[in-house]
């Protein structure tokens, strides 16, 4: 995934330094996989890889959406609740009309999420309220709505059409649909962020909101847009969740927000906006999922898992800061041509 890079005419050694963090994740991932495989070769079996990728797919879709919001110097804590609402919506929909094509289901899920995103974005934009507070509020509200609606009911795999469940497991050329979908989301978002003006404006807004306003960027509209993307992707992740797990209740996705933020932060997206890539965020998701799997396989006490994840987050942001400080120092030396 890291191979997707800019075809810059000439790349200075500095760019390499700046890429170090994503490289770090790849190396960490490689080491982890190597160690696990040595202790248990079946870790690299097709089934096992498929499982990890399926697990990553959902988290990665959420992380991509979150990255878009975080890049604009906002945050969306409501994604776990939105996922739950979307999953339950499509579950109910499929119970009632099992013949719906999967594509319609995907669109419905994303639309549910997008509506939540519009609410978040509008509150942030027009209410002039910090995103953290707004999305903490909608985290509760959306979850509450799902509980109201679902009550104690649970949608079981046998109530879902087999076509839909197949979508959760079936593969093309050995790659599961869910993973393909996640990759599609990742590539589209990644390309838009990297190669389209709108995408670059999101980075600009996060990097310096004031300068963005002076540069004539429609900051308000872009903010809402970013929340809509995050919401829609959370909704999409809800559909993937339903297809993958087949069992949906009102609690689906509870607590996901912190995992997602963790994946994004580990993936090198700065919490104060302006830098980082969705590739990094997806890698973060892959790393977190792989850690979970390999700790299970390595028979490391499962209780260590969370502690390791926490340590990793601290390590990632600490390394980020050190790299930034070093780069800044290096640039100062090179840049001082004013005698």
């Amino acid at each position: 995934m890291t191979a997707v890079d800019l075809p810059a005419p000439r790349r200075s050694s500095l760019d390499v330094v700046l890429k170090v963090r994503e490289l770090g994740i790849v190396i960490a991932l490689a080491v982890l996989v190597a160690v696990t495989t040595i202790s248990n070769p079946r870790f690299l079996s097709g089934q096992s890889i498929r499982d990890i990728l399926l697990g990553t797919a959902i988290l990665a879709v959420l992380a991509v959406g979150q990255a878009v919001v975080v890049i604009t110097r906002n945050i969306d804590l409501s994604v776990g609740s939105v996922l739950g609402l979307s999953a339950f919506t499509v579950g109910t929909l499929l119970q009632n009309s099992p013949r719906l094509p999967v594509i319609v289901v995907l669109v419905v899920g994303a639309a549910v999420g997008a509506v939540c995103g519009v609410v978040n974005g509008a509150l942030v934009r027009f209410g002039n309220v910090p995103a953290l507070v707004v999305t903490l509020g909608t985290l509760y509200v959306v979850r509450g709505i799902t509980y109201f609606w679902a009550g104690g009911s649970q949608i079981n795999a046998d109530e879902l059409p087999s076509g839909f469940l197949d979508f959760g497991n079936a593969t093309v050329l050995g790659i599961p649909y869910l993973v393909l979908l996640a990759i599609l989301v990742l590539v589209v978002t990644g390309v838009v962020l990297r190669n389209y003006r709108t995408g670059r404006e999101l980075y600009a807004m996060g990097s310096s909101p004031q300068a963005a306003r002076l540069a004539g960027i429609p900051v308000g509209r872009r903010t809402i847009g970013a929340f809509v993307v995050s919401g829609a992707l959370a909704g999409l992740a809800g559909v993937l969740f339903a297809a993958r797990f087949g069992t949906i209740d009102a609690a689906a996705g509870t607590g996901y927000e912190l995992n997602v933020v963790a994946a994004v932060v580990v993936g090198g997206v700065a919490v104060f906006g302006g830098s980082g890539t969705v590739w990094g965020a997806a890698l973060g998701a892959l790393l977190l999922t792989t850690i979970a799997s390999s700790l299970a396989v390595l028979e490391i006490n499962q209780f260590w898992q969370q502690a390791i994840v926490g340590g990793l987050i601290l390590l990632a942001i600490g390394a980020d800061r050190l790299v930034a400080v070093r780069v800044a120092a290096g640039l100062k030396k090179r840049g001082s041509h004013v005698s």
């Binding site: 509150l123 509450g144 109201f148 912190l258 932060v265 926490g310």
Partner: protein, 325 residues
């Protein structure tokens, strides 16, 4: 000039701090009048016990947020403190030394947060999301998924007990004493003035001789210490030391603090408002539950209150401004 003055006066009237206290009082009165057995002294005792951890942790959290930072690791610190308490108890240590150790542990965990935030200059949101996972993970490492339950009755009874023949819970003393301490520190000491100054403008505070880094460090220590204490009290109250104790509490605490009128950007807020926020959330929950309203409704109420609490002052201000021009 006069328009400006009316605006200032109106802003004072719309002061969320006053509004939230008034709202809390109204909710308490309405609940006592309409909900059977809400007003009983026994229910008051239950209410206080339910509020205990949120009320305690909200105190230092208020100061942390007023400086413009945040601490999401509080619930995990509570959990780790509880787990270590269970572990040491199982290791046959005397409870009289376990409790101070757990408080110390909390302070150390807070100091770790403080170092990351002040020395490395990392954003506190990211740091404390990291330590949220780390501390909770360590709690599971220490105690696994088991529970330790056989704490001495003298201690557990004290936490669940009441003062004399009344039905005022003993722990209310702790809450009141600490609330007064934190309230006085925040509103009536030079430290409190510095806390507001750092939140309102770190650079200007530095120009006035305040050391923001040191201040924040000690606030994180206080936050950790109180979370450790909350862990001890939680363990004794339920007579159950578990690694997952208090999971998810951080969001409830942040919600209560923000509801209490503290600005997430720092520099604004008052402790009475926060106490009112805690009581409002807790008594609403209690009253709704007594009226057989589901947990679900409470989620929605909490979220809506939270959004309204930050939205209302902004909207009021912009409406006022529009009317002026």
């Amino acid at each position: 000039m006069s328009a400006e003055l009316t605006e200032v006066r109106a802003a004072r009237f719309l002061n969320w701090n006053v509004a939230i206290i008034a709202l809390t009082v109204i909710v308490l009165i309405v609940a006592a009048a309409t909900v059977d057995s809400f007003g009983t002294s026994q229910n008051f005792g239950f209410l206080v016990l339910d509020l205990l951890p949120i009320a305690l942790v909200a105190l230092p959290m208020t100061l942390v947020i007023v400086t413009g930072e945040i601490d999401l690791s509080v619930a995990s610190t509570l959990g780790l403190s509880s787990a270590v308490m269970g572990y040491l108890w199982n290791a046959n240590q005397p409870i009289e030394s376990i409790i101070p150790l757990c408080l110390l542990l909390g302070a150390v965990l807070g100091a770790v947060n403080g170092l990351f935030v002040t020395v490395l200059g990392l954003p506190s949101l990211a740091v404390t999301i990291g330590t949220l996972a780390l501390y909770r993970g360590l709690a599971f490492v220490v105690l696994g998924d088991s529970a330790v339950a056989d704490f001495p009755a003298v201690y557990t009874d004290w936490v669940t007990g009441t003062i004399g023949g009344t039905s005022i819970p003993d722990v209310l003393i702790i809450i009141v004493v600490l609330a007064v301490v934190f309230g006085v520190v925040l509103h009536a000491t030079p430290i409190g003035r510095a806390v507001f100054a750092v939140g309102a403008g770190e650079q200007a505070a530095r120009f006035a001789g305040v050391r923001p880094g040191r201040l924040k460090f000690w606030l994180y220590v206080a936050s950790g210490l109180i979370s450790g204490l909350a862990g001890v009290l939680w363990t004794l109250r339920y007579s159950s030391a578990r690694a997952d104790n208090g999971a998810g509490l951080e969001l409830a605490v942040v919600a209560a603090v923000l509801l209490g009128g503290v600005s997430i950007f720092g520099g604004k807020g008052a402790l009475p408002g926060v106490i009112a926020g805690v009581v409002l959330l807790g008594s609403l929950q209690n009253a709704l539950r007594l009226s057989d309203v589901s947990n679900e409704a409470l989620n929605v109420v909490t979220g809506v209150l939270l959004i309204v609490s930050v939205l209302a002052p902004n909207l009021a201000r912009s409406v006022l401004q529009r009317r002026r021009t």
